[in-house]
Symmetry: C2
Subunit: 155 residues, 2 copies
């Protein structure tokens, strides 16, 4: 199974980044997982939100062409962990699609990237910082694969 995670820029908080890297290592025995850090928009004030999102969209768009595209979105669909595992099993294993998870930077994803999603996924009704959201997503992918492979999830 192929899983890609694509997001603009690096995760700067070293604790969040270490957790993300640890989950990637735990996922690796079960899936060909890759993390792609695309260029982030730098040096623009937050009020230029459209410019920032468009600039980052240029780095993200080529990864939103093939595979089953899942964009993280506050207003997306909520799944529980079992439904999320079922999705990964059906799309990633049974149908052999590459699963591509796109996660925005601190202002989210451009609407034109969001349009390419086969699924807009919300991790919670609560708004998470993008560095926390990336960590939660990786924990859920690891949890889903543990479920699919029949392992008890290490608590």
């Amino acid at each position: 199974m192929k899983i890609s995670l694509v997001w603009p820029g690096k995760t700067r908080n070293v604790n969040y980044w270490t957790l993300q890297r640890d989950y990637l290592e735990k996922i690796r025995p079960w899936a060909q997982v890759s993390l792609i850090e695309t260029p982030e928009a730098r040096g623009l004030e937050e009020k230029w939100v459209d410019k920032i999102l468009e600039k980052e969209a240029r780095g993200l768009e080529k990864y939103a062409e093939d595979g089953y595209i899942i964009c993280l979105s506050d207003t997306g669909k909520e799944l529980n962990s079992k439904e999320f595992a079922d999705l990964i099993e059906v799309k990633g294993m049974n149908q052999g699609c590459q699963l591509v998870f796109l996660v925005g930077g601190f202002l989210g994803l451009s609407p034109r990237i969001m349009e390419k999603a086969h699924l807009k996924l919300s991790l919670s009704r609560m708004t998470f910082s993008h560095e926390l959201a990336r960590t939660v997503l990786l924990e859920q992918i690891y949890r889903a694969l543990s479920l699919i492979k029949g392992y008890a999830y290490p608590k």
Copy 2:
């Protein structure tokens, strides 16, 4: 405003723990926040779930007597970040209640602790590990206080 977080045992993963401690430090200028680590049940196999929860309940129960009690629960009520901030503002600031957040260990909270909750709160439809849940909760308390105090949340 007084906020207590009460949970059995320490957070063992050093990265989750460092994040939790960092959020506690960020919350401290805005609220009298305290973290209480009650005894955890050790040396019992997971199949003794009732015994484990009962043993941990004995450490937790005295903190579930006073104040506005919020128990984290997978099957609790979901709030968005604005609704969560409103709750903190109304109960913790306007009504002057001490806010007591109870978070379970790796098997959750005993039903008899859960009964004492004024609110059962779910952070997501997804199941999070207890160490992740504690981190998400602290991030949301920090986000809520930033909102209430009128600061832009640092992303």
